[in-house]
């Protein structure tokens, strides 16, 4: 079999985990495509390669459905950051993170960082209805609102992807308070056997976002990317010290050398 075409080799991996319908795919869409659109339930997983300065960061969007649960630990293997996503209007979605998803992160790097993200903040929080991302055009937003209202009217799903509340202006009850998320973050650290004092503080690692309005989405991803930078650099260093001889590289340098020595 011929050598498989390699895509740009990612330097580091970030994984989105969370129950179905909390908005993992929408978060990734909002971040990568700057818009909110209808998504269908993710099958298996998908990933996106983000160019972050000179680095390639692969962001894995996983399937929240129970059916694909078994694949989670494989996706998490070697992850430098895990985004544990819940829905602020759904207490159960936070509980699921602890019950089902936290154990999947066992395969992640030892120095993996964890972010706890409450999505759909626009449904409970007026300030999240205004985007913090300057590039969200107003007409874009109205379009989104239409987009989002239509599925949940028919949906019998216990955790609707959104509710018509945002249209009528009535706020939904917020089931998960930021303190709950912070407490969960504390339990993650304990689960990992990490010292709370030497780890990143909860206030830095807990976010409330809205993929619909773009609220806090860039802030979330960019904060994480900044935090995984040391991990990237260490990985690059290890690769440099690797005893494997890279033929491609050797060829490159030798041809260069011969060119300079010529005439």
């Amino acid at each position: 079999m011929p050598e498989m075409s390699k895509m740009k080799k990612p330097d580091v991996k970030v994984v989105l985990l969370g129950d179905m319908n909390v908005g993992k795919t929408s978060l990734l869409h909002r971040y990568t495509e700057r818009k909110f659109k209808d998504t269908i339930s993710t099958v298996g997983g998908a990933f996106y390669l983000k160019q972050w300065g000179p680095y390639n960061i692969s962001i894995w969007d996983t399937a929240g459905r129970e059916q694909f649960h078994g694949l989670g630990s494989m996706y998490c293997r070697g992850a430098a950051a895990v985004i544990l996503t819940y829905d602020v209007t759904n207490w159960q979605s936070l509980a699921e993170l602890e019950e089902r998803f936290l154990s999947l992160t066992d395969t992640a790097n030892h120095d993996c960082i964890y972010a706890v993200v409450g999505n759909k903040a626009d449904l409970t929080d007026p300030k999240a209805q205004l985007s913090r991302d300057s590039d969200v055009a107003p007409e874009d937003r109205t379009e989104c609102e239409e987009d989002r209202t239509e599925p949940e009217v028919l949906s019998a799903c216990p955790t609707p992807p959104a509710s018509p509340a945002s249209l009528s202006g009535v706020m939904l009850h917020k089931q998960v308070a930021p303190e709950d998320a912070a407490a969960f973050y504390g339990r993650i650290l304990r689960y990992k056997g990490l010292d709370e004092k030497s780890s990143l503080p909860a206030e830095k690692m807990c976010f409330e976002t809205s993929a619909k309005t773009g609220y806090n989405v860039d802030a979330l991803f960019e904060a994480l990317f900044d935090l995984v930078l040391p991990s990237i650099l260490r990985k690059r260093n290890e690769n440099q010290e690797s005893p494997t001889v890279d033929l491609e590289e050797c060829r490159g340098t030798s041809s260069k050398r011969s060119r300079t020595s010529c005439c």
Binding site: P2, E3, S5, V43, G45, L71, S73
Partner: protein
Amino acid sequence: MSVKAFELVPAVERDLLMGDKARINIECIECCGKHLYLGTNDCFIHHFLLDEVTSSKGKLSYSAQKLLHKYLGLKKPVAELRAASALERLIVLCDGIVFLVDMVTLETVPSAAGGGAKIRGVTAFCINENPVNGDPFCVEMGVLSSKRRTVQIYMVYEDRVQLVKEVSTPEQPCAVSLDGYFLCLALATQYMILNYNTGASQDLFPYNSEDRRPIVKRIGREEFLLAAPGGLGMFANAEGVSQRAPVNWSESVIGAAVCFPYVVALDESFITIHSMLDQQLKQTLSFRDGHILQDFEGKVILASTKAVYVLVPLPLEKQIQDLLASHRVEEALILTEGAQRNIPKDKFQILHKRILQQAGFIQFGQLQFLEAKEHFRKGQLDVRELISLYPLLLPASSSFTRCHPPLHEFADLNHLAQGDQEKVLRCKRFLISYLGEVRSTEVANGCREDVDTALLKLYAEQDHDSLLDLLASENACLLADSVPWLEKYHKYFALGLLYHYNGQDSAALQVWIRVVDGELQDSTRSDLYEYIVDFLCSCANLDLIWKYADWALQKDPTNGVHIFTKRPGSKDQPELNSDDVITYLEKHNQALLLYLEHLVLERRIQKEKFHTHLAVLYLERVLSLISESPKDEEKLTRARERLQALLRESNLYRVQYLLGKTESCEQLLLERATLHGKLEEHDKALHILVHKLRDFPSAEAFCTWASSSRDSAYRQQLFHLLLGVYLDGNQTAAGGGNGDLEMAAVDLLNRHGEVFDAVRVLRMLPEGWSLQLLRPFLGRAVSASMHACRTSQIALGLSHSENLQLLHDRLKERKKPIFVSEKKGCHLCHNTFSEPDVVCLPGGVPVHTHCVAQRVRDSPTKRQLTNSSNHT
């Protein structure tokens, strides 16, 4: 969705294999080069020679020739066949036994003396295609046995098999694949990676092997494709990490293989083809009773229970072209870029560029200009390909021919737009912006003329503002092509610019002049006449100026003369000779006047000729205005003011000449007075002013003017002269005179009292004048006299005190007394002193008073220097 990535081609038809025996089914296949082996359920191995036949139309088909078949004698289906071509052996699994048969004769290989050639109790085995062991004459094989939870590693030689390693697994394995030291295993409830060398294991993910048949397929170096729950095709590498997103199969996949960049999978009724690049389903082929799907050295072979087929990939380029043909630009590009590694670099670059260009044209056709532009840019499109879509834009002289095969399906823009003028317009606007962007980049290298000419045509046609910018800056517009185009759209001003840019200033001027004259219509510039004047003004070619200035001056002498007056005096421009200009302007009176004014008044050129000429022209104008009837008083006044100003201020014109010219006209007395003044004939001048004009303010002003640059004595003399004229006139006109001269004299004295010598004035004045009449003059005279007296007294006093001060200082300086005695002699007469009064010379030398007096009398100039003092 559908891409045609593969074609299903029959290889071995049912008839050839089993004729009319309905019970016989294919159980397994192996293909090695042209040799195809089939294992059947009746324990036969069939050997075919498979030849590729390409028809004249390029269609691929297979012809199979049966070489041999052989009964293995076990009455059980042949479960697995694998070729070890270097050993010329087939490894066969039948009835739980692995054994070797000769590839050519299909005879079972007898066990060698040293060891067995059979393994019993085998459920499945796999060959290591990437063995760590370098021996080419043995094959590494992973074997799963039915009883034990182990995987055994065997080395297969020509006539024997040898167990080299046995590793235990946590559960009963049911499928295996091998790469290097890594075993990828499907256990009863999960997949795992196991390193048989170190024993290290890595769980992958859970999977229930009872629900679905597991698939463990090595797809490349240390990478495996696995059937995952939910009908997923998951990728995993030896480290247990997934580096590609999964593909979404159906739940009942039987077999899968990778034929880059596609994942091919088989279920009961379909072959599905997913792209590994975007995970999307690309093609579905109906395939009934599918049974086996395997890839052999890149060739994907399928089998139903009765027949064998080859899944032939269409050439990548064809696939890409198909995608483009159905306008699936993104997919085509992903496929192209994904194939980068499979195509030689130089070939890839050519292909990639071409695909990008084609993609750009598709998006262009859909009016997605932003995307189109990006692809044109990346694909380094020869911009003329795009220009050539627009009829008539490429210059006739352009050597360009469209690339073949064509990059797009459009004949031209009209074909593309199908008569939709709005579309045409948008395309044109796009081209304008695109050409505007690329014309200064390397994209336009080698075809700058074509680009700029096309842009010019578009600008002209679309009435675009940038047309003028294009022509006014550096450009490569072709004259021959652009001229008719600009004429067609009445862009005559622009046409002139184009001529100018090409060094044809004369042609430019001719076009512009015709526009100004109304022969041609172009409203680009309402001030085109001024533009022409400016143009000529800064024109380096003097011949052109002489040629076209005439027209400009006739059109508007006032502005036309700017050609000469506003000429910037820069170094690289030839200077115009003023005399030539004056000669040239002879027939343009007004312009000549303006030009002379420019020379004399603005540039202040000190040449008698110009000054006289200007004065004469002024004079002539005044004279002509005077002779007009009815007179335009206002004009006349202005003309005279100018004349007078020049006469007063210039010292260069020929006074006598002008005086001669004014003599004839009785109305120009003021001017004559001025001229007399210039000749210092002040009495004549004043005579005219006082007696002829009786214009006393002018007479006074004359005195002030005529003495303006002289000393006060001259001024006094002039005023006295005027006073004299007043008083004389008064006497001669006594009796008949109405006394206005007298009043003028009084006013003069009262107004300019300070100029007069009061004593002289008093002597001149008639006896009868009342003191009251002259009171202001006298008052001022007395006070002036008093003032002078007091001022001089103060000056005297100040000088005196200064003198004393200096004296004091000097004494202080010298300090020592001067001794005078009877024994000492005077230095001047050498007699002794007889009295204490002496004079001290500088240096403290005492001398007789009378001796000094004597000396002072001899040299009067030194009077000031001596000071007398008494010392006793």
